[in-house]
């Protein structure tokens, strides 16, 4: 049990007053960000990232990941009490959570949501604890061709498995990769796509783009909506908590199913949103009484929340082990790693043991502390919604600008942020997904470097991507996934031709 020993070491790193205080601070900020309209996990992490620039990497990641846990918890508060999903992955929670609140069972629903979030994350963290070191040890043998194959797999699975229209995903990804290529080419030293502008020489920083795309554009979108809200207040008593917790074992199948769905969708770039809906729908299908879903059934809160949190946490597994983020927020954390001077990838487990195991330990501790914190402070956070948006909006704008400027100390970046805000607003409204863009921005130059290093190694032959079993399998899988929609259609039409009778029935 080497992992267990290292985990204990991680806890030892964590138990200093400074880190515990930062953790608490991060959780409070995170819940705040999760509750406020127009802000969410990725925005919150992106905006608050500059706060961590002068910290050591371990404190920084602990605080940022706690902001993320906090945001995940916070999303549940607004969806249950106000029927406003703070995040897209909380939408499924409103189906049964809000009816419960209307029936005066808000406290019960909130306890269920927080507890199941906790269980979902815990399962995913355990998976990370034991799987991540194994994957990274395996990945240490990777050379540039293998890394390029894995990047290719990530990109292709986004295009092939995404639910948006394919050309929109392709536009988003190609644009992200192009923007990532602006500036100095790291292999040859040539300048690309700078058009003689000294500001573009540095390249476009990933975090500046993210702050604009997620922060500024989200405020513009929020302003379009009617911001009036009415909701229930709730105070959670120990008696309710006890009642929900003693009921918990009865729902073990739902919890387990949702955790597995969440972990799986979190590792593959599918995301928490798909996981929460899938968890909900499967719980409904397997239930003896599917009619009662949507009318305030506690299982309808357990299922999506467990899945969403399991997937949100599991998204960090590929980021830690391979340097490939499984979600938008993980991509931003990855951007943070680079700012703090760490090189994401399998070497992290060898070179920065304190950092990695401190982070993993903080996932355990952060979730426990977070659970206690939200259970005891729900009324305070629910009342944050009373603060008028006209006061919140300019503060978010200022925070975004500070964040964008602090990364490279460049005024140009503030303008860039504004530009990306408009792009994000328009893209979201015409349905061009932003996740592939983010992923392409953060992985673009690494993928290209890996490709070109592989080419230099092989003397310019593409055959290197099929030179051994491992890299060949990954590359073939990537190409299969890219054309998955076409393959799927061919298979199902062949299947129909072979079994005409059963297809008709």
């Amino acid at each position: 049990m080497e992992a267990f020993g290292l985990l204990m070491h991680g806890f030892a790193v964590l138990f200093t007053w400074k880190i515990l205080a930062l953790m608490l601070f991060g959780l409070v900020l995170g819940i705040f960000v999760g509750v406020l309209p127009g802000l969410g996990g990725p925005n919150g992490v992106a905006i608050l990232l500059p706060l961590t620039f002068s910290m050591d990497p371990t404190s920084a990641i602990v605080m940022l990941s706690c902001i993320y846990w906090g945001a995940l918890f916070g999303g549940a508060i607004t969806s249950i009490l106000f029927n406003i999903p703070g995040e897209a992955w909380s939408v499924a929670t409103t189906f049964d959570g809000y009816p419960m609140a209307q029936q005066g069972r808000a406290a019960e629903a909130l306890t269920a949501a927080f507890t199941s979030s906790f269980i979902g994350s815990l399962v995913a963290v355990m998976l990370i604890t034991f799987l991540a070191p194994m994957i990274s040890t395996f990945a240490l043998k990777f050379g540039p061709p293998e890394f390029f194959a894995v990047y290719l797999l990530t990109f292709c699975s986004f295009v092939g498995l995404g639910r948006e229209a394919k050309h929109r995903t392709v536009i988003s990804m190609a644009l992200g990769l192009l923007i990532a290529g602006i500036g100095m080419d790291t292999v040859s030293g040539n300048l690309r796509m700078t058009f003689g502008s000294p500001d573009l020489l540095r390249g476009i920083n990933f975090l500046v783009a993210v702050i604009g795309l997620f922060g500024i554009s989200e405020i513009l979108l929020t302003m379009e909506e009617r911001l009036a809200l009415r909701g229930h207040a709730a105070k959670i008593s120990l008696r309710v908590i006890w009642q929900v917790w003693t009921d918990l074992p009865r729902y073990w199948a739902t919890l387990l199913r949702s955790s597995v769905i969440g972990c799986w969708l979190g590792i593959t770039p599918g995301g928490a949103i798909a996981a929460s809906f899938m968890g909900y729908n499967l719980a409904k299908r397997f239930s003896k009484d599917p009619e009662s879903f949507g009318k305030g059934r506690i299982e309808g809160v357990f299922a999506p929340e467990t899945a969403a949190h399991a997937s949100g946490t599991a998204a960090l597994l590929p980021m830690l082990a391979l340097g490939i983020p499984g979600s938008g927020t993980a991509a931003i954390l990855l951007g943070g790693l680079m700012v703090w001077g760490l090189n994401p990838g399998p070497l992290l487990f060898v070179e920065h043991k304190d950092f990695v195991w401190g982070l993993i330990a903080s996932m355990y501790l952060g979730n426990v502390v977070g659970l206690v914190l939200v259970l005891s402070t729900v009324p305070i956070f629910a009342s944050i919604l009373r603060v008028p948006f006209a006061a919140v909006a300019p503060m978010i704008v200022v925070s975004c600008a500070i964040g964008a400027y602090a990364i490279q100390n460049a005024m140009f970046d503030i303008w860039l942020m504004l530009g990306f805000g408009v792009v994000g607003y328009v893209f979201k409204k015409i349905g061009i997904p932003l996740a592939p863009f983010t992923l392409a921005l953060v992985l673009g130059s690494r993928a290209e470097d890996a490709f070109r290093l592989a080419m230099i190694g092989s003397g310019g032959s593409v055959g290197v991507f099929w030179s051994n079993g491992l890299v060949g399998t990954i590359t073939t899988l990537a190409i299969t996934l890219l054309f998955w929609p076409v393959i799927d259609r061919v298979f199902s039409s062949v299947g129909r031709m072979l079994r005409p009778a059963s297809a008709a029935g």
Binding site: I171, H232, V397, V398, I402, A406, I456, G460
Partner: protein, 180 residues
């Protein structure tokens, strides 16, 4: 459904009217965005073509990848434009209504002005003006509340970034006069 424990109520008096007329259809915006992306793809492809898109003995030249990415971007945009032109749903679908656009501009214009002010006055003065002005003029919140909020927020930012964490921020004449 009982509403007895409905405790938190926030009104939004300036909410956009649902019946407000459409300014522009989703289809038009999709076509314009596709055209812009197509133009961008053409410019980038030309630039990379000049950098070199050949495949020499050590693999691709620097312009190789971006060139073909531009081609892919252009192709996908063209496809998007054609589907938008042929689709009937997007023609009737509203991109933004007049009331919505008004509200969006209420945030966007002050944000742009704030960026401009940051360039000349420094970020702290600009934030103070943005927060107090926005709360008062857009949010119709009392003057004293707006001013107090702006002062407190700006002060917290200044102490956090300038004093405690030493993060450099754009500064202007006021900071220079105070010797910071």
């Amino acid at each position: 459904m009982s509403n007895t424990d409905l405790e938190i109520v926030v009104e939004d008096p300036t909410a956009p009217d649902d019946a407000s007329p459409s300014v522009v259809s989703r289809r038009t915006v999709e076509i314009v965005v596709s055209l812009l992306l197509l133009a961008l793809a053409a410019v980038l492809a030309y630039d990379n073509w000049q950098t070199g898109i050949e495949w020499d003995s050590t693999g691709p030249q620097p312009g190789y990848f971006p060139f073909y990415l531009s081609v892919i971007l252009g192709g996908a945009s063209l496809y998007g434009m054609v589907t938008a032109l042929l689709s009937n749903d997007a023609r009737t679908e509203t991109f933004v209504t007049r009331a919505q656009l008004r509200r969006v501009m209420l945030v966007f214009v002050p944000t742009a002005l704030f960026c401009l002010a940051t360039q000349f006055l420094g970020i702290y003065v600009a934030s103070f003006v943005l927060i107090s002005g926005f709360m008062r003029l857009v949010g119709k919140i009392a003057w004293w509340k707006s001013l107090v909020t702006a002062v407190v927020f700006t002060a917290i930012m200044f102490i956090t970034f300038d004093v405690a964490f030493d993060v450099i921020m754009p500064k202007g004449p006021l900071e220079r006069a105070l010797g910071r």
